[in-house]
């Protein structure tokens, strides 16, 4: 594996039951790339991201994360230093203050004693304050998380990722539950932070418009296969129309 590969998949496949959810797939994502993953719902985007994140085991094939085989990551703590994930809201603990949700990004660095102590005397507080400042929520440090709006909660999740300091961020429909203006706002912030920190970003999106606006490379997935994998500039309207066209066997429930 070359040094520049953040993710490398070789013939990786996954099935639930008899049919392939993900057909054998080859994928190479370099460090620093901004990749959007688009496709109809049920195409396999979430499955693909979960495999990249190491949270689900592929049935076959090889996956390298940051140059090392995925299986060589001994524990969640090691994996957390390489890959961070953000999904549709609901990922935060609403009853805790914002501060502790952000500091949860430090858990892979902390032992259990320090984690407990942090509830009484917040540890590494300046790191959390700094991260919240960068997502524009410096005044919400002690607010109860469930009192924040959906957009603000996603920004808290971003602050947690900043504190976690992974090398790559995998985002699964990170703005799907926000209104268009908030969605653009939060996605712009995610991309800006990723670029400032020189990280890699792979994000599934249901908005082609947002994918075009913020990403350099678009990978389209349809029925568990790569439908196209192109630089954003080369993606045409015909590509998009074909991608979302209903095919036999897939009914009206496709959105």
């Amino acid at each position: 594996m070359s040094d520049t590969a953040m993710f490398a998949m070789k013939q990786v496949s996954k099935s639930y039951g008899s049919a392939y959810t993900l057909h054998p797939l080859n994928l190479h994502i370099s460090r620093g790339e901004l990749v959007a993953l688009i496709g109809p719902s049920g195409a396999g985007k979430t499955t693909c991201l979960n495999i990249l994140a190491g949270t689900i085991e592929p049935d076959a094939g090889l996956l390298h994360i940051a140059g090392k085989p995925a299986s060589s990551y001994a524990s969640g703590k090691h994996l957390a230093k390489a890959v961070g994930i953000i999904r549709q809201q609901f990922d935060l603990v609403g009853s805790l203050p914002v501060l502790h949700n952000v500091l949860a990004g430090r858990l892979h660095e902390w032992g259990f004693g320090k984690s407990l102590l942090s509830f009484l005397f917040p540890q590494d507080k300046h790191i959390a304050a700094d991260a919240l400042n960068r997502v524009g929520l410096s005044d919400k440090l002690y607010d109860k998380t469930s009192h924040l709006s959906g957009g603000e909660q996603q920004r808290v999740a971003l602050a947690r990722l900043l504190v976690q300091q992974p090398q790559a961020i995998l985002a699964d429909e990170p703005v799907a539950s926000l209104d268009p203006a908030r969605a653009e706002d939060v996605l712009a912030m995610l991309v800006r932070l990723v670029q400032e920190e020189q990280l890699t970003l792979v994000s599934s999106l249901h908005s082609v418009h947002l994918a075009r606006q913020f990403f350099q490379r678009i990978i389209a997935i349809k029925e568990g296969r790569v439908f196209f994998d192109l630089p954003t500039a080369d993606v045409t309207e015909d590509h998009i129309t074909d991608l979302y066209q209903l095919t036999a066997g897939h009914g009206m429930d496709e959105r």
Partner: protein, 264 residues
Amino acid sequence: MSSKLLDFHKKNILTVLLSAVFIWSLFSVQWGPDLFHPGGQAALGQMMQGLLQPDWSPAILRLALSAAWTTLAYAVAGMSLAIVIALVFGVLASGVLASTRTARNVQVIGFRGALGFMRAIHELVWAWLFVAAIGLSPFAGIFAIAIPYGGILGRIFADMLQDVPEEPITALRAAGASRLQLLCYGYVPIAMADMLSYLMYRFECAIRSSAIMSFIGLGGLGFQIQLSLQDLRYDQVWTFLLFLIALVVLVDMWSQLLRKRLVA
């Protein structure tokens, strides 16, 4: 077709059956002048009289206050121990700390079984057992409350921990949290409000249990009520009962305050 029809009428049939059983049970009571014992009516009158004019003399008030304090102290001490039991057994019985599926099953079955044993036996029975074993000591009363209430709370805590939504937990795991860290940054804060409000409800129950417990000679409001009943001093009985009611109402007010702060 006919099975669907049967399904449809199942509830009605059950209702009719249960009503029939209830009506039949009324016939098995010997209705008649023997139902109240001869002095009953007079006693009932005296009780009512007592309710209208409880004994507010300073000596009785002092006695009631110290008895209420004893009852509260047993309940608080018993519940404190019950909380420790419930947290330890409840967390283990929920299986959230288990590393493998097998370990999880063993833990869940083992600790749920232990919790079931604790709460299957009523606190009065535990009290008799402990009095027989260690005599009339405060510890007998405290343990007699702690064990069954630990069993009840532990079981509910385990259920609440298992019902925690999985998204925040998955996110914490992806951020590199260990199982113990998941517990204190995920499971417990998420379930905390429910756990506390159930705990407060059970605390009320523990006060009643503690009062009853004193009938077997452990002191407190129940013991005073028993003494006054023997003397047929219904006015004093009511004084003590009103203190018991006041205790429960106070705890209820406190729990509502706590709940408001937690849920807000």
